[in-house]
Structure formats: structure tokens, C-alpha cells
Amino acid sequence: MTLEIQKPRPIWQIMFSTHHTDVGLLYLITSLAALFMGGTLALAIRLELFLPGSQFISDSMTFNRMFTVHGTTLIFLFILPFASAVGNYFVPIMVRYKDMAYPKLNAIAYWMIPPAFALIWLGFADFTWNAYAPYSVTRAPGPAADMWIFGLKLLGISSILGAINFIVTILKCKHPDLPLSKIPLLAWSYLTSSLIMLVAMPTFAAALLMLLTDRLGLSGFFNPAMGGDPIAYQHLFWFTFHPEVYVLVIPAIGFMYDIIPRFSRKPIFSHVSGIAAFVLLSIVGFASWAHHMYATGMSFTEKTVFMIGTLSAVPASAMHVFNFLATMWGGRIKFATPMMWAVGGIALFFSAGAGGVVNSAMPLDFMTHDSYWVVGHFHLFVMGTIAFGSFGFLYYIFPYVTGRMYNEKLGKIHFVMSFIGTIMVFFTQHILGLYGMPRRVFDYPPIPEWIAMNQFITIGAMIIGVGMVIFLINIVYSSGKGKEADMGDPWGVGGEKYYYPYQSKTPHH
């Protein structure tokens, strides 16, 4: 076995490589950079909201810019590239192919991300990650808004190229002896999320072009002054981005499908139900986009259809949760760091889903709409489920990527701080929303309950922040000076050698 650490390569060889693990490493590093940059903005936002009035951010416009870039960075530059990193590393291995189907296209898809990253951060737009019209058309200052649009355009093309590559790799390049029904659930998660991406993304790509031509004054699709309809933008946006939620969450569930059986020392309870739930989620994901828009004056019938469409995601999600619980049942569970993150992610996935069910009932949605409830619900999903699954899997693949072990104790401290912080921040935000605090506000009236809850949330955010610093120290130190990992069984769970075969890093071609 030849370990990477025994055969270091210059960085340019990795940067200009088209090998799937090299492109995966680039995705991984980029996504972690985005995590810390977007996370820093989150802490700044929370510090500003610690007390009513202006603390250190001079005006509401700056505040708007900060949460716009925070959201855009963490969704499009952390979560999605992290999923792409893992997919690049493991999808070819799982379908037993030497690389991705189109290695050069794969590298091109990655190299669209750094310019998009630069456009988003150098522009620092202010119209939220939704870029809702008419503000984004008529008032949002350029060139920041235009840079954001171009950045998202690049990311959209990158995502589509990546999705095509995953689909072709899985469907056409898998080993002939490997039936589709037998490929690991992690690979299935990439197949279904890539299919969603391929269907959903072109709509937003079109919407972005329409937005841009509207901003240039060439058209008036979303500009009421020119006879356009701002609500049409919302439909186009959410037709892409509600399914996109599943694009984000499905790989995270796939990560858990790899971690939980390993540390429970059992096979997954039901492979078939996992596949069925992924396929079901990818279909019903398209049946619920307008539940984000109940307050826009839709008819009762439309609202009912989308409410039922939303609720139809519950059985598929429950199938995943049941599968995880049934796998753990009767196991001999080793609570190493990846398993702790996975179990914490399941608990929070369920909590976020329960909040979503309440939210999907249309009369309740009118109460929670644009309140902190929505912030809490959304973040409980993206942080509590997706990021938890991602962190768990990052620890899980750390020996594979670096050949070294991370510090287990620091990994567990990172988990505990993140779990406590997540509950403090996002559960409390639900309650804050019910107390009437609107989202996306720079200042708020000095209502004692609001102040107390905001301070509690900020303290929770700081706990998460300290955990992330510990995480950063752990991965940086361990990747260079950590103990060499036993590549057959890094966590000592015994049994046959099960870990991803390091030798599968086929020579560069």
C-alpha cells in the first residue's frame, strides 16, 4: 500500500489533475474555506443581534450584504462542493470504475467554482440568497448584484456538469457485474440528487438570465413597471430551490448510510427501502415548491395541492429514519466521532422535519412566514442534518484522504459543542419567530423576551464557533502530524477489512 503521505506531490500536480481523488480534494479544500468564511459572517450577524440597536455594523445595507453572502456561501460554496468532493472520491470506487466518466469535464466543473466564489465575495450583494424581484431588478445596487448573478450562473453550470458526470458514471460506467440495485446507498444518493439537479437547475438558470436582462432594462419579465410579474420569479426560483433542498440533504443521508452500519457492526437494515426512499424523495421534491409562497395570494386549491405535496415527503423521510434506527437496533455500536455526528444528525433531521410539517399547514404558515421560525427551521435542516452528516463523513474519510488519524477527543468535543450550540440557536429561533420577530432585520425593538432569546442564540452561535476553531486546529494539525492510520480498520471496529480500499486510488491516467 502506498500512502499519500509517503509520496508527497507538489500542489500544482493536484491542481491541474483530472483524477477523481485530486478533483475531490480541490472540492474539499474549497468547501472548507467557504465553511469558515460563511461561518465567520454568521457569527458577525449574531453579534450584531446580541442587543437591539446598532452594535458594530454601521447600517442595514451592510447587514443585508452580510447575510446574503453568508447564505450564498454556505449553501452553494460549502454544502454543494462538499457533496461533490465526497462524490468525486467515492462514486467511481463504489461503482468500480477507474475515474469519473468525463474526467476533464469534472475538472472544468470544479474550476468554475473559484471564479464564482470570487464574484460573490468581491461583489457582496445585498438582495438575500433569494434575489427576489422586484428589489433585485429595480433597486439592488450593481455591480454587486450582477456579480452575484454571474457567480450563481457559473455555479449552476458547474452543478449541471457535475450532475451529468455522476449520472453517466453510475449508470454507464459501473462494473458489468454490479447491478444497479446493489450499488451502495451513498452512490444511490448521488444518482438521485444528480437527477434532481439536472431537472431543477435549468429553470433557475433561465430565471437568472431573465433577471439580468431585466436589470439591464432589456426586458421586464419581473418588473411590475414594465408589466412583469415578480411572483413569476418566485415560482421559477422555488421550482429549482425546493428540490435543491433535497439535493443538499440526500447526500447527507447517504453519508449516514455509510457511517451507521460500519459503527453498528451490522449491514444496513434495508437496502431496498433506502433506494425507494431516495427515489421517492427525488420525485416529491418537485411537488412542494410553492409552499414557500402561501403568502403571495395563491388560491385555496393551489395551496392545498402544495400542502399535500409537502407532506408527501414525510413517509420517505420516515423510511430513512426507520432504516437508521433499525440498523442500530441489535448492533454493538462504537461511538467514534463519525458515528456521534451521524446519530446527532438523525435526531436533528427528525426535529427539523417535525417543524416543517407544522410549517406546511397553510394557516400556520401565515403566522410563521418571514419570521425567525423559518430561519430556525431552515437552519436546523442545513446545519443540524446536512452539516452534521457532512462533518461526520469528513471525519470518516479523513484517514482515506490524508492517511492519518484525526484527534478523536477533539472530534468529540467539536461534536458536543456543535450539538449544544445548534439546539440553543435554532430551536430558540423557532420560539423567537412565534414571539413575532421578523427575519432579516438589522435592529429590533427592545422587547425583553426578544432580547433574552437573541442573547441566548448568540451565545449558542459562539459555542458552535469555538467548536469550529477546534475542528480547524484538529484537521490542520492531524493532516500533517497526526498518527498514521491503520487503513484497514482506522477505528478498530474489527471484522473484515471494510474501509475504502486505499489501493483503489488507481494510477493517474
Binding site: 448492533g331 455500536i333 427528525f350 417543524g355
Partner: protein
């Protein structure tokens, strides 16, 4: 009886038929929260029990049949 939920709430706009919307919505909210918390308690309770019972450091922990059969 928690379900079915009365969705006529959003329809009743006839003159003279007064509905205290705030009370109705909070009523619906509490009923749905009751459902969510009951199911949540069962699932979370099961998860916590699984974590406690099947952790390898539990005195009752034993090898899984897959480990014993060497299929692991």
C-alpha cells in the same frame, strides 16, 4: 381527537360568520405541535434508548450475529 384538521378555516369569509382567526390558528398550531411532540418523543426516545442500550460499553453488549458468523 386531533385529526382531521378543519381546513375550512381559510374559506370562511361569509358575511356575518365571525371567526376568531387568531384563536383558530393557535388552536391548530397547538394540535399539530401536540402531534409533532408525541411522535417526536417516541422517535427521539427510541433513538436515545438505542444509543444507551446498544453502545459497545453497555454491560449487555454482545457481538452481533454478523460478527460471530464472520460476515462482517
Amino acid at each position: 381527537m386531533i385529526c382531521p384538521i378543519n381546513f375550512s378555516l381559510a374559506l370562511d369569509d361569509d358575511p356575518g360568520k365571525y371567526i376568531n382567526r387568531k384563536a383558530e390558528v393557535w388552536n391548530l398550531f397547538y394540535r399539530m405541535m401536540t402531534v409533532a411532540f408525541v411522535i417526536g418523543s417516541v422517535v427521539s426516545g427510541t433513538l436515545i434508548w438505542l444509543v444507551w442500550r446498544f453502545r459497545e460499553s453497555n454491560n449487555n453488549a454482545k457481538k452481533t450475529k454478523y460478527e460471530e458468523q464472520g460476515k462482517w
